[in-house]
């Protein structure tokens, strides 16, 4: 993915390009790193949240990801986009956390309030919110590696190659993981809806 297309998906272009900020950080201007935290904080936190299924753990993992990224900036290749590199560190930190603590808490009620659709009444909004909560809960039941793949692919909108880079696994394995993850998600959703009736 080119830098241009990455900016389409990423945040605002305040404070220069990612590579400019990295260069300034490496030159000793540590405060410049705040620009990257500002730009990618939300996405990093949400990746960690979906993998750990725990808001406190997600905050820890997101912070750790940024700290690790800062310490490894000299190893970052500026010819490649910064986002997938950072997401790789985030995914590793989150998966490590899950392995360490076996944290697998399903927090169905942690879904934030989504902005109401203009043509939606309160009842439709409530139903939609409930459906989304079911999806989040079903996703939290999946294996951490599947959660990571689904999060990067469908919530962060990464291409197959970027997901492969972020998870550090071959492209074919990513496709297999995603195929199985989707099937597992559908099965769990169907089971949850069956229980609800």
């Amino acid at each position: 993915m080119t830098e241009g297309s990455w900016s389409r998906l990423g945040g605002p272009r305040l404070g220069g390009s990612d590579q400019d900020i990295v260069r300034r950080c490496i030159a000793g201007e540590a405060d410049a790193f705040a620009g990257l935290v500002e730009r990618y904080g939300g996405r990093v936190y949400n990746i960690a949240l979906r993998i750990t299924s725990d808001a406190d753990a997600a905050k820890d993992c997101a912070q750790e990801a940024f700290i690790r990224a800062y310490r490894a900036l000299h190893r970052y290749d500026p010819t490649l986009p910064f986002g997938p590199w950072l997401f790789r560190i985030t995914t590793n930190a989150s998966l490590n956390y899950v392995q360490r603590w076996h944290a697998h808490q399903t927090t169905v009620d942690e879904l934030p309030d989504a902005p109401e659709e203009a043509d939606e009444g309160p009842e439709e909004t409530a139903v939609r919110h409930e459906e989304l909560a079911e999806v989040v809960a079903a996703m939290a039941d999946l294996a951490p590696a599947y959660r990571a793949a689904l999060t990067l692919r469908h919530m962060q909108q990464l291409s197959y190659q970027e997901v492969a880079d972020a998870l550090d696994i071959p492209l074919g394995t990513v496709k297999t993981h995603l195929h199985r993850a989707r099937a597992a998600l559908k099965t769990r959703l169907a089971a949850r809806r069956g229980e609800a009736r």
Binding site: G41, Y70, V135, H154, L158
Partner: protein
């Protein structure tokens, strides 16, 4: 209208899951997240310098003290014997000689230890309590 929020290489088989998952609203960052990260980033930079300063002070002093012990092992042994003898008896005729440079090396080592202790104590503590 073209949906911008989807991977560029989305396949037909993925559309349902894509629709479901992309509809989940992202959670807002916890308050103070950026400041907390930046505090840790700058703290680590400061701490790195503290560790370097502690090492610069401690290593020559330690090397000097080790050299003294190796080079004057008999004198050090005799001094230690005198101290033990003085402690074990009522007499107060124990005699041992301490070189001024040894005192200086010990003092510098103490300062280095204080700096290292500070760096070790104030390092950012990650919350790792079991949940």
């Amino acid at each position: 209208m073209i949906d911008q929020r989807r991977p560029s290489d989305l396949e037909d088989a993925e559309r349902l899951v894509q629709r479901l998952l992309s509809a989940i609203p992202p959670r807002a960052l916890p308050l103070g997240f950026r400041d907390e990260v930046m505090r840790q980033v700058t703290a680590r930079t400061t701490l790195t310098w503290e560790w370097i300063a502690a090492a610069v002070l401690a290593v020559p002093s330690l090397a000097f003290l080790i050299f003294q012990v190796v080079d004057r092992a008999d004198e050090v042994g005799a001094a230690l014997n005198n101290i033990v003898a003085a402690a074990a008896s009522d007499s107060s005729d124990a005699f041992f000689f301490v070189d001024g440079t040894v005192v200086l090396a010990l003092a510098i080592l103490g300062v280095a230890s204080l700096i290292a202790a500070h760096a070790a104590l104030v390092r950012p503590v990650r919350r790792t309590t079991a949940r």
